[in-house]
Symmetry: D2
Subunit: 337 residues, 4 copies
């Protein structure tokens, strides 16, 4: 019951896991109103047929920029490559966009092309603000195009920011574990229940698309490293854990670790520094990133473990956090921890 009209928000690409959740979060949001949910593959179906538990009363529609684009804001949940043209079309109409794809995350176009192929809207390349609110909050507030980070970069960057900013990271190994929703909704041999159940398997080894994104941001923070990053698929639905093993150029005491991470979490509603290594259940269905950091005397390394829900903080609820900032709402509105 707000005194002013809610801001209408389009969700373009609502049949995937992240888009559908974004639609639900907008639908329940006290200051936003869901204007429409579109889908290329499932137009005509009620969203509740695909996602009964979201209980969103909307029918998926074929995207029609003329009809759907006349809104102040949109969340675009299209695959990499396909997202850019949609974002561009919306931007032309003045709609402020949070894009969930990788299309506007990278700042170096050759790097983008090496990992993703040709860009779908080159004129817009590099114009997006990287949508990690804990770092880029003020820029996001005035941005018209926000590139929502990848799920692994979100967890990794929130885990490593204090170390990276100190300028003391020499080498970092990130071993990431993700639930299957991170692999998307398309049925395949790899996402068949029988292939995942009672299994754990590395994937994208040496070639995961989130690597350049992590390196780009760590460098901005002050750690120009080549991150060792490997992702593993685990037999669970939502949830992601990154285990980071950091070699530093000078020794870190536990006191220094505690101080740095305490300062990092200060005032951040969604960064929880916790006293023991978090499990992914601790943050399920929330926008929280739970972080545990410790100086390991035995090896001299610093260990950092960070858990997020890949569909929430790793995608849809972080998009809402960005929209909150863009429209002047409290950062936590509708996604309270």
């Amino acid at each position: 019951m707000s005194c002013v009209a809610d801001t209408r928000v389009l969700v373009a690409g609502g049949s995937g896991y992240a888009g559908a959740l974004a639609a639900r979060l907008i639908d329940r949001h006290p200051a936003f109103e869901l204007s429409a949910v579109t889908s290329r593959s499932d137009a005509g179906k009620p969203l509740s047929e695909l996602y009964p538990h979201h209980r969103v009363d909307a029918v998926l529609e074929e995207l029609d920029i003329e009809r759907h684009g006349d809104v102040p804001a949109a969340i675009v949940a299209y695959p990499h490559g396909a997202a850019a043209p949609v974002a561009a079309a919306l931007r032309e109409r003045g709609t402020r966009v949070v894009d969930l794809s990788a299309d506007f995350r990278l700042r170096d176009q050759p790097t983008y092309e090496r990992w993703y192929g040709e860009h779908g809207a080159p004129r817009l390349f590099g114009t997006g603000v990287y949508g990690l609110p804990e770092v880029y909050g003020s820029q996001i507030a005035s941005a018209n195009l926000v590139a929502n980070p990848g799920c692994y970069p979100t967890a990794t960057l929130l885990a490593l920011a204090p170390l990276a900013r100190s300028g003391t990271i020499e080498d970092v190994v990130v071993d990431a574990k993700s639930g299957v929703s991170g692999a998307g909704r398309a049925p395949s041999a790899k996402t068949h229940f029988v292939a995942i159940d009672e299994n754990v398997v590395p994937y994208g080894v040496g070639a995961h698309r989130h690597m350049p994104e992590i390196d780009q941001e760590l460098a901005v923070f002050g750690a120009p490293v080549t991150t060792t990053f490997t992702a593993h698929l685990m037999p669970l639905d939502q949830g992601e854990l990154v285990s980071c093993y950091v070699t530093t150029s000078e020794p870190w005491s536990q006191d220094r670790v505690d101080e740095a991470y305490g300062a990092w979490a200060e005032g951040q509603p969604f960064v929880d520094v916790v006293a023991s290594p978090p499990g992914v259940r601790d943050v399920r269905d929330s926008n929280v990133c739970a972080i545990h950091a410790r100086a390991d005397a035995r090896t001299g390394k610093v260990f950092v473990f960070a858990a997020i829900d890949n569909l929430w903080k790793g995608a849809a609820s972080q998009a809402v956090q960005n929209l909150n900032l863009m429209f002047g709402h409290p950062e936590t509105l509708g996604i309270e921890p």
Copy 2:
């Protein structure tokens, strides 16, 4: 190390779960030798690429009846409808066949056509022996075409045989629960990990193809009933439990139940009558059916719970049990409980 040459066995259709397991069981069998494994969809691939854990050193081949059919025995693991022509072609060359599909299970052709459509080898219709060794052992021994039962009928019939034979079944409700391997290897929205995980859902309600098969055999046993049967998909890989609630025309005491089930299990190496309700883990990776029966004084009904491994006793190892009988080997050879 047998004194005589092992009997060569073809597995036709080895890329599905049941066919692949059949290939492994034949490959390890002391009296059978795997002549070839064929596949329509994956010819050219090593079987170990699809099923590393089976450790069978064979390359999937396109079926060539001329080349592959010159064997004494074959296990056919094709989908319903497609199996009959393959079985027929093999029979023409004298090969003795165990068919895993439904094509030769039913004895009434109109019933077959109602549930499965046109039959692929009408001249052979009705010539198969129903391959439930605990019931049809002697006929199987001399059969040339054995119709391996469905997984649900296997568990249900082994569970209900003593009651059915007494002629006292008036009504029976079978609530069945199955692991996802029962749904086959083809990726689909229904078998996606995220759809199955943390879920349980009824399927094929009122229209499951195993119903006519169960009714047919129960009638032969002495119980001409219309079985109430519902299957549910559960978040596990292999395993099947049938919970049977039987209304009888006269009261059964626990003593009578114990006597009837004790007699039923007597001499059956794969029927275990157990003192408390079995879990599907108890029979995983085995040809055993574990059965618990009890007279329920409160309701006057008899409850029977039976657990099998749907891929083993419900498919591949039962096929080997049938082959053992057909070729004069001990019933348990290569599939010892």
Copy 3:
């Protein structure tokens, strides 16, 4: 932000799954305020240590009726037997109580004693209102002691109410499947991950304590039957499905089924009659009961499938629904579907 002070609610017994969730729901509720959370086993610990994902900022306290009992309302989440004295002590101080145990559900004291042993507050026996809001809503509104139903009875009674009220139920078989949270938080051989994983197993066969509760209420509705009820433990956390197979004294057409269930759901915010059998995922973390009913022409029976979240509609959120009614709030406040 309500204009009037929120009603203070005590949660007594907050270390178990249901009590902890109740604390969270009260903590977030727009019209209630969490006064305290008590625990016999874990007093002194922050609730967030046991349940990080609930993010409730409260320390578990030893129950002190003098100190904690001075509140308008309490949710009691004690085990059967231990709950009654706590509820009695709270009632003496005028606190309105929703009790999650079985202590006030049954109306016949000998039946209670047969299933649960001696009652802990015999003077209060039979004074509670059965807290199924869809049936007893108006009585709950003015009740001081509400007996929150068991999880299985909740799902079963919501599934069968329309049939029971018609007076045509002759026999009913309920096959129930539950996630492991229903077995409680105490570690045991039965709840060890390895015992549950890749398993499904019947439990409490012929002797489940929810049976008399189901029969009592079905009789009130108009179906004086002895329900055949069997529960099964499944490898998932939250969720419960009841599959009901009903023999009726006269045939039901699908039209009659649809009409009866349509009327039943009408105006009920938490009863969803759905077009195909629900999975438990569809209602996870919600107070909704999803029901699918169909006349099965083949057997002449009526099949009803109902899914709930055992910790929500089966316990904690239903307690909040009851409190909403007791304090004159909209039934859905704080637990919107």
Copy 4:
């Protein structure tokens, strides 16, 4: 059916997961005979009551060294600390022992005491042969006391041996993931299904007892490093994956990696070098260790992934492999890959 009498083998401590599996493997072994299975906690119970699926027909007995110790061989599956006295008592009677605990793995007594406390049979300390057959095969053949390696060291050492032997390892990070059976059979809050399900959580961070064992052996191989090692608990039963990130003192090409690992696997029946990163399902219920190694051009590191079944190669079947060597049988007898 061997011409000579089978060697009798005692399994001391058969109620835990590893001991029970050892009993089953001995029970089915063509050259060993299970003389007895003992248990401190469950004496008097049939083993099949605890482990129905093992189908071992034996009753657990209280250990009586006089009665049970008169055997040529024993597998001791006691907890750390409690194992040493039992092994000592058996050794005094001339029984050759494979010990599954850590009591004889370490060669430095102060190190043992720091991690495990006082040793239970100091006179025997350091007299065991480290039972990794791929490395110590010839010493195992003549050993009377074999210390079966820990599960993580087994996978890690098999993964890293070729690199360690080259003398080029400078630093190594091992991120390990294990199924819950690795945590043992004792029920606890940490092994409750609800705590594990949909979760992944680091444990023993910076203080895992397998660390000194790994460092000890890597040093023997030629890599005197302090290994960074962290274990994670995952929602599955059996299976373990170690992801190793190795910094080398000189660059390794993929060719050099392939050559080194090819040579390492040569003639090793249980070491499978595979072309893509293995999943733990690939080795379930087998004594195989599947290894994938690659030179990562981007980071200059070598990545090695190794999967084992923690209860098989990580414990019970490796014990049988050791017994095979000790009694002159083919290494693979009874545990064929």
